[in-house]
């Protein structure tokens, strides 16, 4: 029974102190300091038009930095490059429409999702559901093809969804931008998350709580196209 008493006392002792703390004091450092943010070009989350950064996640980070009274150092790069740096704590945050299912999730710290991105099959005006047996257009290179095949549809790659006459598979925000119906069958959902340096748990908790408070503004930002 002693062990229980000891454990109980430990818990009580820690009720007062603010846990968790960072292993490397990131949160303390970025307050009134500089936030080092890796950015991966990935519209509409991160839009990089000739050095001018825009996008949903860029906007979120700017608001976050304002609350911390921090300046932001934007460091553009590829996903593997930036996440490798993040793993060794050369960066504080990496953004660019990262997915919660990314294989990087065991090497860096992923936040809770701030937005659930759903891929839908929007039917063409004349046709039915657009699944099982139907051919469905998707943008070349989009993983929607895999999910379409699983549902028995025939995926047809196209360069630009705008002109497609058949049913199309795309994210809800993309369908809205194309003024297509968002009433289609749900194909797949993906968690939009940000990546934080691992072990910096006070910082991770701060970002997660901030995103939980501000996540509700993401759909509106997506409708505005991240501008």
């Amino acid at each position: 029974m002693h062990e229980l008493i000891v454990a109980g006392l430990l818990l009580l002792a820690c009720g007062g102190c603010r846990l968790p703390r960072d292993a490397d004091h990131t949160l303390e450092r970025v307050k009134h300091g500089t936030l080092r943010v890796g950015v991966i070009r990935n519209p509409p989350w991160v839009i990089d038009s000739t050095g001018d950064l825009r996008g949903v996640e860029v906007q979120l980070v700017e608001a976050m930095a304002a609350e911390l009274n921090a300046g932001v150092a934007w460091i553009p790069g590829s996903e593997s490059e930036l996440l490798t740096s993040l793993h060794s704590r050369e960066l504080d945050l990496v953004i660019g429409g990262l997915s919660g299912e990314s294989p990087w999730k065991t090497r860096v710290a992923f936040t809770r999702r701030y937005y659930l991105d759903s891929t839908l099959v929007s039917p063409a005006s004349s046709e039915g559901s657009g699944l099982s047996g139907d051919s469905v257009a998707f943008r070349t290179g989009n993983p929607a093809a895999v999910y379409l095949r699983k549902k028995g549809a025939i995926p047809v790659p196209v360069e630009d969804l705008a002109g497609a006459q058949r049913p199309i598979a795309a994210s809800a925000w993309k369908l809205a931008a194309l003024s297509r119906s968002g009433e289609g069958a749900l194909l797949h959902t993906e968690q939009r998350i940000m990546a934080v340096a691992p072990g910096e748990n006070a910082w991770l908790n701060w970002v997660e709580q901030w995103l939980a408070r501000h996540g509700s503004s993401v759909p509106a930002m997506l409708r505005a196209g991240g501008k």
């Binding site: 229980l4 430990l10 292993a23 809770r112 072990g199 748990n201 908790n205």
Partner: protein, 322 residues
């Protein structure tokens, strides 16, 4: 002498045996719930992962026990003329061996995390509209599973002692010993909370060492059983005095000149032989032998299928003591 009679537990143990089975079912239920709770809160903490594996593994012996008790008292068959008493030992060997191997694997995993300096991220959880550090949820679940382990250990220990059940006893010890693992995991989580990232993997390494130690201890015990070890006192390495008692009783029979005894543990029962040299003039030798078998078997309820063998001479009364 009867061949094909199955071992019977004395009637006074029937309620304890039924209770042991109920407690095993309770263990499986509670430990399954514990495993689910640990899995849900696990996150990326290595200590939590190890505590979760321990919890899942501790279901194994309870399940093995239930499977074995279903078969152990089956009557001997033509193919298995000595009965199924060793079912318990075999199921226990499987459980203990897998325990040790998984423990080793977890140890390597934890040490690798330390060597590669992987830092554990522990974010927030949402519970009933509150968002707070996931570490608190982990600590809560670990504390609950610590209490469950203690409760199960406390329920099993007296039953195991009354039933002379080594498998159940080892299980009770394992449940009770789990508090160390869970306390270590709580320590690991708190260390993460205070910014000491290595605390997580260090706690995990400690827990996996405990698993390996437990597994090794159980393997040694059960291998002894399968190697026909002489009956030992519960939980200790000392030999039971029963072998000597049996020999003395045999020697006190008026028609017996000298006797020697060889006993082994077979799961819950004790089997073996009594070798006797009869005195030169003995009337009704067969009847005497029959009566002696019954009388000697009644010395202890665990004696089963005892065989009394007539011999002309004995080179020694006991095997050499090593």
């Amino acid at each position: 002498m009867t061949i094909g009679r199955s071992f019977e537990l004395p009637a006074q143990f029937a309620p304890d045996r039924a209770r042991a089975k109920r407690v095993s079912w309770l263990s499986i239920a509670l430990l399954t719930l514990g495993s689910i709770a640990l899995w849900l809160t696990m996150g990326q903490s290595e200590a939590m992962k190890t505590a979760w594996v321990t919890e899942v593994l501790s279901i194994l012996p309870a399940a093995a026990y239930l499977i074995a008790t279903r078969y152990e008292f089956n009557p001997p068959t033509e193919r298995f003329p000595f009965g199924y008493l060793r079912a318990i030992s075999i199921s226990y060997l499987v459980a203990a061996a897998s325990l040790s191997l998984i423990g080793l694997w977890l140890l390597v995993d934890a040490v690798m995390k330390l060597v590669k300096q992987e830092r554990p991220p522990v974010g927030t959880v949402l519970l009933l509209g509150h968002q707070f550090w996931a570490g608190w949820a982990m600590i809560g679940v670990l504390a609950a599973s610590m209490l469950v382990g203690m409760l199960l250990g406390r329920l099993k220990k007296p039953l195991a002692e009354r039933l002379h059940d080594k498998a159940l006893k080892a299980e009770a010890e394992m449940n009770r010993g789990e508090w160390i693992s869970e306390a270590a995991a709580i320590g690991g989580i708190l260390l993460i909370g205070f910014g000491f990232w290595w605390g997580d993997a260090a706690a995990a390494a400690f827990i996996s060492l405990e698993i390996v130690r437990d597994g090794w201890h159980n393997i040694r015990q059960v291998v002894g059983d399968l190697m026909d070890e002489a009956p030992t006192v519960m939980d200790r390495r000392d030999l039971e005095p029963l072998t000597r008692k049996l020999r003395e009783s045999a020697q006190q029979l008026p028609w017996v000149e000298r006797a020697a005894v060889r006993l082994r543990e077979q799961g819950r029962a004790l089997t073996g032989e009594v070798f006797v040299i009869p005195r030169a003039v003995t009337q009704n030798l067969t009847l005497q032998l029959e009566a002696a078998t019954t009388d000697l078997s009644n010395l202890d309820w665990r004696l089963y299928g005892l065989v009394v063998v007539l011999v002309a001479r004995l080179e020694s009364e006991t095997p050499p003591r090593m």
